[in-house]
């Protein structure tokens, strides 16, 4: 029972693959955070898993069945996609947007029924946005809109979620709100593949990680085993410290970049007036 990627090679141009010989697997109900610099192929990997991009070689299977052999609706019942926040062409309400997640469970000419509306309502309640049901997606904040997309994915009732940088372009507070909801969801039975630009989120999620590096290298495993200061330096090209900070009888792990000192401009003594 797993989503398995074996020897995956894919890309857009014939001679220049973006991903080469990638192997990893995501067990049912498990969480994996995907880390890596821009342009390393995180989004390309997601496109391949979602069936938007045909793999050049290698295979992607769910419970032993190749996704290439699955129909669109069948695949959508197995994997739900949470895209990065984007503008919507029309101002659908939150309720209407979440209800769209029921599409893979309905036939082409079928209309959503009351049980689909109930599933959508349940998904909105899980994400804490049921009070926004009648608002349009253009009226709500970016963080709330991300919750709407996650709720739509929940309404699909999939085995796996694929989330492409769910906290990108959100402000500080909304990043935390969305991350907290995602942590709640990790308790469920659904497997999750989450890409992020912020390595400290992998420490917060305490999940397995897949670190993709330039030059087609990658490593995967439990975050504590894989994420070392050297590896982060190798991946992102910056000095990083990973520390455990005691707080309220617990240890909080955090990962910070060491940023070059900027001189004395901000020393408080010098701004006396």
């Amino acid at each position: 029972m797993a989503l398995v990627v074996e020897g995956l090679c894919c890309g857009y141009a014939e001679d220049k693959p973006i991903i080469k010989n990638l192997d990893f697997s995501l067990g049912a109900g498990k969480v994996t955070t995907v880390l890596g610099p821009n342009g390393v192929g995180k989004t390309t990997l997601f496109k391949a898993i979602l069936g938007f991009l045909q793999p050049r070689t290698g295979s992607i299977t769910i419970d032993g069945k190749a996704i290439a052999a699955m129909g669109r609706a069948e695949l959508a019942r197995a994997i739900a996609y949470v895209p990065q926040i984007q503008s919507m062409p029309f101002a659908y309400t939150v309720e209407e947007t979440v209800l769209m997640g029921r599409a893979p469970h309905l036939k082409l000419l079928e209309q959503p029924r009351s049980k689909d509306c109930a599933a959508a309502l349940h998904a909105m309640e899980l994400m804490g946005i049921d009070h926004l049901a009648k608002k349009t997606c253009t009226e709500i904040s970016g963080g709330e809109r991300q919750m709407v997309f996650i709720a739509r994915a929940l309404a699909q009732e999939p085995q796996y979620f694929v989330m492409d940088e769910p906290t990108a372009s959100l402000d500080f507070g909304n990043q935390v709100h969305v991350l907290e909801r995602i942590i709640d969801l990790t308790q469920g039975k659904t497997g999750m593949l989450i890409s992020t630009h912020d390595p400290s989120q992998a420490f917060t999620l305490k999940s397995d990680v897949l670190v993709m590096q330039h030059g087609y290298r990658c490593c995967s495993g439990y975050y504590r085993d894989v994420l070392t200061e050297e590896l982060m330096h190798q991946t992102y090209g910056v000095e990083v410290i990973i520390r455990s900070i005691p707080y309220a009888a617990k240890q909080i792990e955090c990962c910070m970049a060491l940023i070059k000192e900027t001189g004395h401009r901000h020393i408080r003594d010098s701004v006396q007036e």
Binding site: K47, L50, G51, F52, R72, A73, E74, L75, A76, R77, I79, A80, Y81, P83, Q86, S87, M88, P89, F90, A91, Y92, T93, E96, M100, G101, A103, P104, L108, L109, Q111, P112, K135, T136, T138, E139, R152, Q156
Partner: protein, 357 residues
């Protein structure tokens, strides 16, 4: 343009009254009432009591009409001249409204319509070609459909190739303009080579757009294709919501996006082209009506699609009343809808500050 997007979004949200099923029912009843009253409008004056007494006689009058027997004056005017015309206005207005709404959802863009995509010009060329060879009505209809389909597919293929898959508003509208111009030139060629005495007047009046020549035969011709296209579009109404999302999103929701898109293009083009074949170029309905309905019923196609059909029907009956009753001489209805539609389009451009998204 995230800021512009937010601004229009907020304005849209404020004006969204979001009527539901009762709104649709009210719209249907209003269209029916206006259509009934319209039977009294025109040069031959019929007052309300006379209209009512004529309508009471309708079963026997229709019997006479079918058997080709003589009718009284007001029966002749109501059942042979005005009723087919009003029915045609209802069907054609509804079809144009629905096709426009479907195109707008499919192209993720509230600024497109059958005219802007070139569908009506392509259909006009197809019909004019068939008229050039004095072919029967069925061939004219089929040829209009083919012409419309070719024009829309050309617009779609060129704009999505230029926009690398994502058809953005500017490339789409510009491509539509180019394709429309191409078909207008082709129409000019058919007019140029047409026989100036026997064919040219017919083609010219046809292109101006009008319902004055509509007979029961024409209605018989358009009813089946319009019904078939509308029923398929109506059954797909919820899927058009999903089609209006980004391609990756709609595919991740388990939809065969390409297949549904082609189905919507074929149906929307079918119903608009068939109408062009009998009524000529009645423009702008497919742009203005769905947009107004989106303000009232919201963008969900489960309500927007039927609302656009009903409002389009109502609008065209009203326009036809003005065309027939306002002046001593009848005005071609295509001119009227353009006079109303062009300012509304300008208003939309101002509202969205010349762009969308």
């Amino acid at each position: 343009m995230p800021q512009a997007e937010r601004a229009t979004g907020q304005r849209q949200a404020k004006s969204a009254v979001r009527l539901g099923g009762y709104g649709l029912l009210a719209l249907a009843l209003l269209a029916l009432a206006v259509a009934t009253v319209s039977l009294a409008v025109g040069r031959f004056s019929i007052d309300v009591p006379l209209l009512l007494s004529t309508l009471v006689q309708s079963p026997s009058a229709i019997g006479h009409l079918i058997r080709g027997e003589a009718l009284g004056n007001e029966e002749l005017v109501v059942f042979k001249m005005r009723l087919p015309r009003i029915l045609a206005a209802l069907i054609i207005g509804g079809a144009m409204g629905m096709a426009g709404a479907a195109f707008q959802g499919m192209f993720r863009n509230p600024m497109v319509s059958p005219d802007l995509l070139g569908a009506t010009w392509g259909a006009g060329f197809g019909a004019a070609c068939a008229m050039l060879f004095s072919l029967p009505m069925a061939v004219i209809t089929g040829s209009a459909f083919l012409g419309g389909l070719v024009a829309v597919l050309l617009t779609y293929i060129f704009s999505s190739t230029l926009g690398r898959g994502s058809a953005n508003i500017t490339t789409l509208v510009l491509t539509g303009v180019v394709i429309s111009a191409l078909f207008q030139a082709l129409i000019s060629i058919t007019k140029y080579v047409a026989d100036p005495y026997s064919q040219l007047p017919g083609i010219t009046f046809f292109l101006m757009g009008g319902l004055s020549g509509i007979t029961w035969n024409d209605i018989a011709f358009i009813l089946a294709p319009v019904l078939a296209g509308s029923v398929v579009l109506y059954s797909l109404r919820w899927r058009i919501n999903i089609l209006s999302l980004d391609d990756d999103e709609s595919r991740s929701l388990g939809m065969d996006t390409q297949k549904v898109r082609i189905l919507v293009i074929v149906c929307a083009t079918l119903i608009s082209a068939v109408c062009v074949a009998v009524s000529g170029m009645i423009g702008w309905v497919g742009l203005v009506i769905p947009h107004l309905m989106r303000m009232v019923f919201g963008p969900d196609y489960r309500r927007l699609l039927p609302a656009s059909f009903l409002a389009g029907a109502l609008y065209l009956v009203l326009m036809d009343d003005i065309a027939r009753g306002m002046f001593s001489m009848e005005i071609p209805i295509g001119i009227l809808t353009a006079l109303v539609g062009a300012p509304v389009f300008l208003f939309l451009l101002f509202r969205y500050k010349g762009g969308w998204r």
